[in-house]
């Protein structure tokens, strides 16, 4: 599993990485945080599917259990990957928004 295979996957991995960008979180906190900032409610299976994929790609890593819950944290590689993906998305968003603005202004 490499970052290339993550690249082709859905946005769930990006949502998880974004949630972990500031501090480690366990599963329940991840789901609540993603719901708060993205309006997307992930199921337990979906979340752990994404976490497993990210862990195989060494983009996140588990921390020792706290009260029988395993928090996960983003790795340095994960942070770099997230930065690249978000920069790319921001560039595409900027182009798209500019073109929409031009089209609206000319119509």
């Amino acid at each position: 599993m490499t970052t290339d295979s993550i690249r082709g996957s859905s946005d769930r991995s990006i949502l998880v990485l974004t949630s972990l960008a500031d501090c480690p979180k366990h599963g329940y906190a991840l789901i609540k945080d993603i719901e708060a900032f993205a309006g997307v409610r992930l199921g337990a299976g979906t979340l752990y599917s994404a976490l497993a994929k990210l862990e195989r790609a060494a983009l996140v890593e588990p921390l020792p259990a706290e009260e029988r819950r395993h928090p996960y944290r983003i790795t340095e590689a994960g942070r770099e990957f997230l930065y690249q993906r978000l920069t790319e998305s921001a560039r595409i968003a900027e182009v798209g928004l500019r073109r929409i603005a031009v089209a609206v202004a000319s119509s």
Binding site: L47, Y48, A52
Partner: protein, 182 residues
Amino acid sequence: MTRRLSARRIRELDPRLAWLLMMLYPRAWRARYGAEVLRLTRELIAAGETTPARAAVNLACAAVVERGRALGHSWRPALAMSVAALLALAAGLSVTSHAHRAVSASAAPAPASLVRFLCSARSAPGPRKVPSGRLCAELPIRCRIGTGHAVKVIPARPAGRVTVKSADCVLAAPDKARTSGP
């Protein structure tokens, strides 16, 4: 109280279904994440964030994805596993909904047309004496025998609720009743 108990049971993931769903995942994945994902599922259900049915569907779908990943690019085994997973899920949901129906049926007294006497599900409908005379109970038609569901005691007996045990069911079965008679 029974109604509250039933409501609480419905707000939990059936352990048999949970086990079945975990079996859908590849062994390595199950060993690494199985306990965590089940704990999180229970937390979400307990917090009212999801329902057992929705959680089960989510786990089954994720299992299909993980199986597909484990099998790599070979699509035929992946398809076969997907079909098997969906069939297993359907069977599991059927078992769960049956159990929930039974719990609901025992929680609220069933209409007269929907009750038969103890163990009549195994025999012809109609009143039947329990040979030992220890128990005479009404059993909702959908209540499963031998699973410890609470049932109503018929008017001939003191009011209250009793629990049908599998031993009582065997005692009341028609063949046993005949053999135990004079």
